[in-house]
């Protein structure tokens, strides 16, 4: 699956989390638009604890903040244990460990 983000029709910038008003120019026409899915790891964590009992069997899991090449930062599930800062990834819409829709990132092997 490709990556779509909310995109302002007035200033042509994307943002995250989703809004109905653009945080850059206050434009009110937002459309979900496919964007370049490359990005790099800004920060990451290996998660060992969840408030939700049904999630606990999936732990530990790696979560990361990714800066997409368009500049927008998103929180994602990261596929590998190799989550060094600066690593290149491809982000797409996928599913998390319990099957819910979520952004997921795959490491790009160099």
């Amino acid at each position: 699956m490709n990556l779509c983000l909310p995109h302002c029709q007035v200033c042509a910038r994307s943002h995250w989390p989703p809004r109905e008003i653009c945080p850059h120019c206050l434009g009110h026409e937002i459309q979900w638009t496919e964007i370049e899915s490359g990005g790099s790891v800004v920060t990451a964590t290996l998660l060992h604890h969840s408030l939700e009992p049904r999630f606990r069997e999936h732990l530990p899991v790696c979560l990361a903040t990714i800066q997409l090449d368009c500049g927008v930062c998103v929180l994602v599930y990261l596929d590998s244990g190799d989550f060094a800062i600066g690593n290149r990834v491809i982000v797409s819409t996928g599913t998390g460990p319990t099957g819910q829709e979520a952004l997921v990132a795959k490491s790009v092997t160099r």
Partner: protein
């Protein structure tokens, strides 16, 4: 614009209702206990209170308006604070300005929350729309997730190591050991800190506050009224608030304090070196480091070196930090954590600490931080308190 302090205004009657991990009572009981103690200890009747300001996450669907009817209060000035951990200094500043302007004569400032056990997860389910849409699906964690990401980034950027975070937790636990109401009182060793189980790396158990239930409160009135009632009081030399500072930062690297500290200190006519203590918001030790840097106790990125070099205990010779143990020792009763620094700071400048008393403390700084709407705390606040002269 020239900053302005709060003339002839007094903060008085700090009240802490002892916290519990599991409350048998609802949030109104906690808020009402704080209000009742304010009345009982001040000798000021409920009928004289004409202003009310409160912070609570778990009061919904009720609001602070509901509290007037619940407690039988009739007031002419009222505010509802959604700033969570920043709410204490904000409550004090707002109430002080109202008293200075004559919009109210006696303002009760209270915070209460009921947050042990399942209540914490329920709060997280509905904390904010951004959190619900873009954070909760990622592990169903709560604040440990954003603060793990912030902490990792800070450690990478500054070279901080876990022992640096541990120094803050250990010093505060030392202070908390002497504080009668701390839920976590056992002294903490570096070995225990480092050996704790991982929660969201690099955060481990003792980096995280324990959700609980509790309440805090204080009164704001004119200096004349405090003196007439024979109440110890503090003057508010300066105060600042800031929301959504530095939104362009990919990951949060400070609160809003760097934007406001010059105004804060200019209004007080003092600098960080004049502070006898710092009551800093301590949901996680990295946020304490943000405050040490943002409020000018050290340079940006130098907090790890600062905590290695400076004694942070209340009975030490350095910078007394969170002299009652902070939330890392007391537990975090939701928005009440935003009030802890004010009540403790007031007791310190009165010379009436419940635990360790900082020697000759007459002036100190209290700062607040909170409300992780998406990936960072959006609110920051700070006030400078000084012992009132009667």
């Amino acid at each position: 614009m020239t900053p302005r302090g709060y003339r002839h205004v007094a903060a008085a009657v700090p009240v802490t209702i002892p916290y519990v991990r599991r409350s048998e009572h609802g949030v109104h009981w906690w808020l009402g206990r704080a209000l009742g103690e304010l009345v009982r200890r001040s000798g000021i009747s409920k009928q004289e209170i004409d202003g009310l300001i409160a912070a609570s996450y778990t009061l919904r669907p009720d609001s602070v308006v509901s509290l007037t009817e619940y407690f039988g209060l009739t007031v002419r000035w009222l505010e509802d604070l959604p700033m969570g951990g920043a709410s204490g200094p904000v409550a004090l500043c707002r109430a002080a300005r109202a008293v200075e302007a004559g919009d109210a004569e006696i303002v009760a400032c209270i915070a209460g929350d009921v947050l042990g056990g399942a209540a914490f997860g329920k709060l997280m389910d509905n904390y904010s729309s951004f959190s619900r849409d873009a954070v909760l699906p990622y592990g169903i964690v709560g604040p440990n997730l954003p603060f793990a990401l912030i902490t990792r980034h800070y450690m990478e950027r500054t070279g901080a190591v876990r022992e640096d975070m541990g120094r803050i937790c250990i010093a505060q636990r030392h202070n908390g050991h002497y504080f009668p109401h701390a839920l976590l009182k056992n002294p903490l060793t570096m070995r225990e800190y480092l050996a704790a189980r991982p929660i969201a790396e690099p955060l481990h158990l003792f980096d995280c506050v324990m959700p609980c239930s509790g309440a805090e409160g204080f009164l704001v009135m004119s200096e004349d009224r405090a003196q007439a009632g024979g109440l110890p009081y503090a003057s508010i030399l300066a105060g600042v608030e800031r929301y959504n500072a530095f939104p362009e930062d990919k990951v949060q690297v400070s609160g809003g304090w760097p934007m406001d500290r010059d105004r804060l200190y200019a209004a007080a006519g003092l600098g960080p070196g004049d502070m006898h203590f710092l009551q800093a918001y301590d949901d996680y030790p990295v946020i304490v480091m943000f405050q040490l840097e943002g409020l000018g106790f050290c340079e940006t990125g130098e907090a790890p070196a600062f905590v290695r070099a400076v004694d942070l205990t209340a009975d030490g010779v350095g910078l007394p930090l969170n002299t009652g143990g902070g939330q890392l020792s007391l537990g975090q009763a939701g928005a009440v954590g935003g009030f802890v620094g004010i009540t403790e700071g007031l007791r310190q400048v009165f010379g009436q600490a419940l635990g360790l008393q900082v020697m000759n403390a007459t002036v100190g700084l209290v700062s607040g931080y909170g409300t992780v709407n998406f990936d960072r705390g959006l609110c920051s606040s700070a006030v400078i308190l000084a012992r009132g002269s009667s």
